[in-house]
């Protein structure tokens, strides 16, 4: 299964490009899906260690607001993306130093707390953040080129797809490395890991910082695509959504987050269009069905269909 993963990834990417050409509105949905998929790779990293963060929307919101704040000053996507990633990484290091001392529910809830604090700051500091109205992000030049709307959207889509490939590849290398294997050891039995001389907290902290960076990149791409940021990006239901996508896609491979994110966004758009009052109900039911009847997620389903194993 691992061997055909790159081929599958290329097929999925090709399908996304075809879909984006066929229907312009799908381009928007799929760009958001790619951005969320990048962020969900961070959740996957922590899930590997058996830890659930119920607050990673914090890093998405941080990345998105970084773009919104700095766009008027350094109005170029090629500068803003690294800045958002770097900022989220630093924030992730600061918070990570604290939260990686905790496990299980405490880890989850402390992350939730951090995200909620950020949410209320965004909402209450109206003078700086414009509160729940949010901030509009204008179309910005990319690598010095001023673009008109359609070209701009295509370029962001291309950047998101390229980043998804590169970051997915790096994540795969990392998970197969000794560091990545140690991460899985935290889930199995952390004490034994320490007996072997592996600093478990350091391993988890590095994974946490990486997940924050991934969240920041995802958030920056979301801000550039939707061109409007609101505090809701950091609300706890948005964090839940990320874990939702991780499980929907399946925690087996790096393709899972992207399959999950695409499926999630498509179901959400269709449900919101056809049943405006009940889209959450439909998403919730989909999630329940997946958990009860397809425990490996979409990736696991795909793996079984091809005849290999999910992992």
């Amino acid at each position: 299964m691992r061997k055909i993963e790159p081929i599958l990834a290329i097929l999925v990417a090709a399908a996304m490009i075809v879909a984006a050409i066929a229907a312009p509105w799908l381009r928007f949905v799929l760009t958001i899906a790619l951005a969320k998929g990048i962020a969900v790779m961070g959740i996957l990293l922590l899930l590997r260690a058996g830890q659930v963060s119920f607050g990673h929307a914090l890093y998405i919101a941080f990345g998105a607001y970084t773009v919104a704040f700095l766009a008027p000053r350094f109005g170029d996507a090629m500068i803003l993306l690294p800045l958002a990633a770097l900022g989220a990484g630093v924030l992730g290091l600061l918070i990570g130093l604290f939260v990686t001392r905790y496990r299980q529910i405490f880890f989850g809830m402390l992350n939730l707390a951090m995200a909620m604090v950020f949410y209320s700051l965004l909402e209450k500091l109206y003078a700086i953040t414009k509160g729940s109205d949010g901030i509009r992000v204008e179309i910005m030049p990319i690598a010095g080129q001023a673009l008109e709307r359609v070209t701009y959207e295509w370029t962001i889509f291309g950047i998101a797809l390229g980043l998804a490939f590169v970051l997915g590849f790096l994540l795969r290398l990392y998970l197969a490395s000794p560091m990545g294997e140690a991460l899985a050891g935290i889930k199995t039995r952390e004490t034994r890991l320490e007996f072997m001389g592996v600093p478990a907290r350091g391993v988890l902290l590095s994974a946490y910082v990486m997940s924050a960076v991934l969240g920041g990149i995802g958030g920056a791409l979301i801000a550039m695509t939707s061109r409007h940021v609101t505090p809701l990006l950091s609300y706890w239901t948005s964090s839940g959504e990320l874990v939702f996508i991780a499980i929907l896609g399946g925690a087996g491979g790096v393709l899972g987050p992207f399959l999950g994110a695409a499926a999630y966004e498509l179901v959400r758009v269709y449900a919101a269009a056809s049943f405006a009052d009940a889209w959450q109900m439909i998403l919730g039911s989909v999630l329940l069905l997946v958990i009860l009847f397809a425990p490996g997620g979409l990736w696991g389903m795909a793996a079984r269909a091809i005849g290999g194993r999910g992992r």
Binding site: I105, V243, F244, L292
Partner: protein, 311 residues
């Protein structure tokens, strides 16, 4: 300092009274969540939905019965009975048909199942009760107000918020402490909380204990909602707000600790209402600051027990 009190004394008094009544509500919801977590080891995100449904059901049953000519004094027992009804119907339904299927699953999957349930119930509320605010405050009006002496001044405050809400919390705390420590059923619950495997090996029917505890927890959530319904208009989203606060209480208090939940609710209720009157921007942040400070000093929670690390 003395001058400050002269200027802000009344405000502080009002904040303390307000905090007391909101602490009572927080406690009712959080202690149910804590109890369920202690026994089932599931963080029930849908606990917030049960709170919201309890509130909505109590308001509509109250309005319905008032239309039939129910005397005003009966509106308080009606609140309690509606909550019991909601808990007794939804509790067993959720435990039997949903949670029972996932006890053997990973923690993250369990969390997500309740998250999915939360999403579904959120729309169910909108479909049944609509999105317009619902208000029914007969119970609060019936009891009237009292002038609380504070220094040289008097603070007018509703009897309902001053006596009924904290009263219910105190009775629940005392009743729970007695039930868990002095009755056989209660001690069985404590046994399962402490060591599920050993308890089952002793012949305790864990399935029955789970069902009982979950139903009881659901009733407490619904009771919190029902008792809150006369004090404020009901709008969509109250479930989401309540549950994050309860998470903070549970993590701060220590898992499965009822006295801890009471003390934490009091701290957070008072802290929050003092913030409302003096630094409104901080209102939502205060509970999380308390949580972070407590966990910095006591990583297992205020009253939590350190678990032995398995090798």
């Amino acid at each position: 300092m003395a001058e400050w009190f002269q200027d802000n004394g009344l405000l502080l008094g009002l904040a303390l009274l307000d905090g007391l009544s909101s602490a009572g509500l927080i406690f009712l919801v959080a202690v149910g969540l804590n109890l369920v977590f202690g026994v089932l080891r599931i963080v029930n995100v849908a606990h917030g939905s049960l709170y919201a449904i309890g509130a909505y059901a109590a308001a509509s049953i109250g309005i319905f019965l008032a239309g039939l000519g129910l005397p005003d004094w009966a509106s308080i027992p009606t609140l309690v009975l509606s909550a019991a009804l909601v808990g007794a119907i939804l509790g067993p339904l959720i435990e039997r048909f949903l949670l029972r299927r996932i006890y053997a699953q990973e923690e993250v999957v369990q969390l997500l199942v309740t998250f999915a349930l939360f999403m579904i119930l959120e729309d169910v509320q909108k479909l049944i009760w609509g999105v317009q605010p619902i208000h029914h405050d007969t119970a609060m009006k019936y009891l009237g107000t009292i002038d609380v002496p504070f220094g040289a001044d008097f603070i007018p405050f509703t009897n309902y918020q001053l006596f009924v809400l904290p009263g219910f919390a105190v009775v629940t705390l005392a009743g729970l402490a007695w039930f868990l420590r002095r009755t056989l059923t209660g001690r069985v619950i404590v046994a399962v909380t402490t060591d599920r495997e050993a308890a089952t090996a002793m012949g305790i029917d864990a399935a029955k204990v789970f069902l009982l505890t979950f139903t009881f927890g659901a009733m407490l959530a619904a009771l919190g909602g029902a008792l809150s319904s006369p004090t404020a208009a009901l709008v969509p989203g109250i479930g989401a707000q309540t549950i994050v606060l309860s998470f903070a209480v549970v993590a701060t208090a220590g898992l499965g600790q009822i006295e801890g939940a009471a003390l934490t609710s009091l701290m957070m209720g008072l802290g929050r209402s003092v913030a409302v009157y003096f630094e409104p921007e901080l209102e939502v942040v205060v509970p999380y600051i308390i949580m972070v400070l407590v966990l910095l000093v006591r990583p297992q929670g205020l009253f939590g027990v350190i678990e032995t690390r398995r090798v």
